[in-house]
């Protein structure tokens, strides 16, 4: 089956081409073409997954093929290729299944677009077909990224998903905030990608290959290592930190919520932002040989986890809470990889993709209902209008909070156990994050679905229920949010680790104290959120906000980081640019223009020689000939030969 893996990204690419070049005038078809193409990819992915699961691959690698893209003289050719192993098979299923459900959901959600999106006579928003073209292109790029067998290939698709993320955040490009957010996302991730590219080139200069399997072999045999490996790994981590919104490059992800909600679910929760974690898991065989790089990855991961969670405590925009939560959970995954439990990190990625996509789609469902993102101003009491949304979101929220036996509990626990063994301070930070996570998720659920409706009554009056295409994906996503955790449960044999690491995987460390402590903290966090927000009135949080106005302000203002970055961009960078500009105009241009001006001056003197009188030229010619003749003849005459 794996030899057909190249078809998986091809199908969405075909649907992109079909929409971009043919179906722009028939929006209904564009939605279903996209969903069908991704369904085809999903079926292929599932069959490859079944093959990998059944042990049908040699040493858990099903296929690893390269194709010489640019032949080079005197050095290895630049090759692109695909690799299917357990990790790829898993990611293929995650990407195609979430993408398929999101496409189905989008056919309902995007039909009327935003309230400022002009609706055509056929009842579809004008931007509908463009939306699905971008989504197809994104799915293609993401699948290519997952299938890549070398750093070069992964980098190509890495930029591809970055481009699609830009296009989709700015989907409603007539809104200034959306356009600015798209630009910000692109620039900030590009900043990280610059490091990534440097890392790839540096590693190539050391190892002369881009291919993951060869790199892993070289690292294992000690051919590359030491400082060079640490530098390469840290540069590659720059790229991963940009894509996965790790501190200090996290600033783009909250703003990216300006995009349509299904986009946030697919790109900014389940798949693209997890690409950084996936990349680190891919290069993990190299990463383990550099203790410093591991420590930095773990520290940044843990710090990002607690840092983003703290901002999630106060955000009032439901999608922003989810965004902070995503950053925080990605921090967890990085922490897992940094403390050496890469499989646990990937396991969390796998579980997180489903429950976070579900949370975003649920948020989209209530946003679709009340036409606003503000939890306090426009929501409340929505359980009467969207009971299915509430139920499925509860499952996802409990999973995210790490309440047993929901899926998030199992993976988070593996990461915490590894951290507790390897890095105590990071473990404590992660525990605090567990508490915060449970608190802000409880807050979202209570504020959105309980109490009285606080928004404009008119928005609810023309509620005709939501289309089935939006409800069914929620229900389907609730199933993995409930059960996928059990795949990695230690008392069921830790099947996940065995699958990813192949036969002979070391036993997953479990620590009962960690399990008890983290579950208790999660329960406490949830309980506290119920105490503060669960009873319909917000007097306690309001009093708390008034008393702690300064910390509240700092959190609301995202630790002033955006101001700092703005200041750096507008003062430092523009100041340097001004200096460079002055150097260019005064010194570089001055030299060039000066040489030009002198040449013109000299020319205006020399032009007097050109009289245009052909006989003058004749005289000069004659004089020259006579002179040369004398030059030849005089020595002969004076020597007396004549």
């Amino acid at each position: 089956m794996a030899q057909y893996a190249w078809l998986i990204p091809l199908l969405p690419l075909i649907s992109f081409a079909l929409i971009a070049f043919g179906l722009r005038r028939s929006p209904a078809a564009s939605g279903w073409v996209t969903a069908l193409a991704v369904l085809g990819s999903l079926i292929l992915s599932l069959s490859i997954f079944a093959q990998a699961l059944g042990g049908g691959c040699v040493q858990s690698v099903c296929i690893d093929q390269s194709y010489d893209w640019i032949p080079l003289v005197g050095s290895p050719s630049l090759a692109i290729g695909i690799r299917v192993d357990a990790l790829t098979a898993l990611m293929l299923v995650v990407v195609t299944s979430v993408s398929f459900l999101v496409q189905v959901y989008s056919t309902g959600y995007m039909r009327h677009g935003a309230d400022d999106d002009p609706v055509e006579t056929n009842g579809y928003a004008r931007s509908y077909a463009r939306y699905f073209a971008s989504m197809s292109l994104f799915t293609f790029s993401m699948l290519g990224l997952v299938l890549a067998n070398s750093l070069l290939t992964i980098y190509l698709f890495w930029e591809g998903v970055g481009l699609c993320s830009y296009l989709l955040i700015g989907h409603w490009h007539w809104r200034p905030e959306a356009a600015a957010a798209a630009k910000k996302a692109f620039l900030v991730t590009r900043l990280g990608d610059f490091g990534f590219l440097l890392g790839i080139l540096y590693l190539f200069s050391q190892a002369h290959t881009f291919q993951f399997d060869q790199l892993a072999q070289m690292a294992a045999s000690g051919l590359i290592g030491g400082t060079a490996l640490t530098i390469a790994m840290l540069l590659i981590f720059c790229g991963a930190a940009g894509k996965s919104a790790q501190f200090p490059l996290h600033v783009w992800l909250p703003d990216a919520m300006e995009g349509p909600t299904p986009v946030s679910a697919l790109i900014h929760a389940a798949t693209m932002v997890a690409a950084g974690v996936y990349l680190m898991a891919r290069v993990f065989p190299l990463l383990v040989h550099s203790d410093l790089a591991l420590q930095i990855v773990a520290t940044i991961g843990a710090f990002t986890a607690i840092f983003a969670a703290s901002m999630g405590l106060v955000a009032t925009d439901i999608k922003r809470v989810m965004a902070y939560s995503t950053i925080s959970q990605l921090g967890y995954m990085m922490l897992g990889i940094g403390v050496g439990a890469a499989t646990a990190g990937v396991f969390h990625l796998f579980n997180h993709a489903f429950f976070k996509a579900l949370l975003f789609l649920g948020a989209g469902s209530v946003i679709h209902l009340v036409n606003s993102n503000e939890m306090f101003a426009s929501m409340g009491g929505l359980r009467r209008y969207r009971p299915v949304t509430m139920l499925t979101m509860w499952i996802a929220a409990l999973s995210l909070a790490g309440i047993p036996p929901f899926s998030g509990f199992w993976s988070k626990d593996e990461i915490l156990a590894a951290a507790a063994t390897r890095a105590m301070p990071l473990y404590l930070a992660a525990l605090v994050t567990v508490f915060m996570t449970a608190f802000y998720m409880g807050r979202v659920m209570f504020v959105t679905f309980y109490g009285e409706f606080r928004g404009d009554r008119h928005t609810l009056e023309h509620d005709h229920g939501e289309p089935m295409s939006m409800t069914i994906p929620l229900i389907i996503l609730a199933i993995p949010s409930l059960f996928t955790g059990l795949w990695g449960a230690p008392f069921l044999g830790s099947g996940f680790a065995a699958f990813i690491e192949g036969p002979g995987a070391p036993e997953v460390a479990t620590r009962l104290d960690v399990v008890v402590l983290s579950s208790a903290l999660a329960f406490l966090g949830g309980l506290l959120s119920w105490g503060m927000y669960g009873r319909g009135s917000f007097t306690i949080p309001e009093r708390l906000t008034a008393q702690l106005s300064w910390p509240h302000h700092v959190l609301m203002d995202r630790y002033h980081l955006d101001h700092l970055y703005n200041w750096i961009a507008s003062r430092v960078v523009l100041g340097l640019a001004w200096l460079a500009g002055q150097f260019d105009t005064l010194i570089v241009d001055g030299a060039v223009n000066g040489i030009g001006a002198r040449t013109v001056q000299l020319g205006s003197v020399l032009r007097r020689l050109q009289t245009g009188q052909v006989q003058t030229y004749g005289w000069v010619l004659f004089a020259g000939a006579v002179f040369l003749a004398l030059l030849v003849a005089l020595p002969i005459v004076t020597a007396g030969h004549l």
């Binding site: 020399l606 032009r607 007097r608 020689l609 009289t611 245009g612 009188q613 052909v614 006989q615 004659f622």
Partner: protein, 111 residues
Amino acid sequence: MPPAAPPLYPITLQHGLILGALLFAIGIVGALTKRNAIAILMSIELMLNGVIVTFVAFARHAIPSDLTGQVFGIFIMTVAAAEAAVGLAIVIAVHRVRRTVEVDAIDTLQG
């Protein structure tokens, strides 16, 4: 038949060279001083003739067994005829455009 008596005043190499130099000098002075383009063309013909005379004189006295110099002279005459044809054509073309053949009036290339 008795052999011809040697001439009373034989034509020596110097005679030929002086004649050639005179022709060339007259030609170059004419070419550089005349204003009429036709006169300049004629002067150039004179210069070429001076060259031919020099060639023939050298050929006659330096290598009497060979006719190289004389053949060269014939070549120069041929080329000179072609040159005169082209030169006259240019003069006529210039005259059509500028209504003059005075070379000091034709100074479009002045810097």
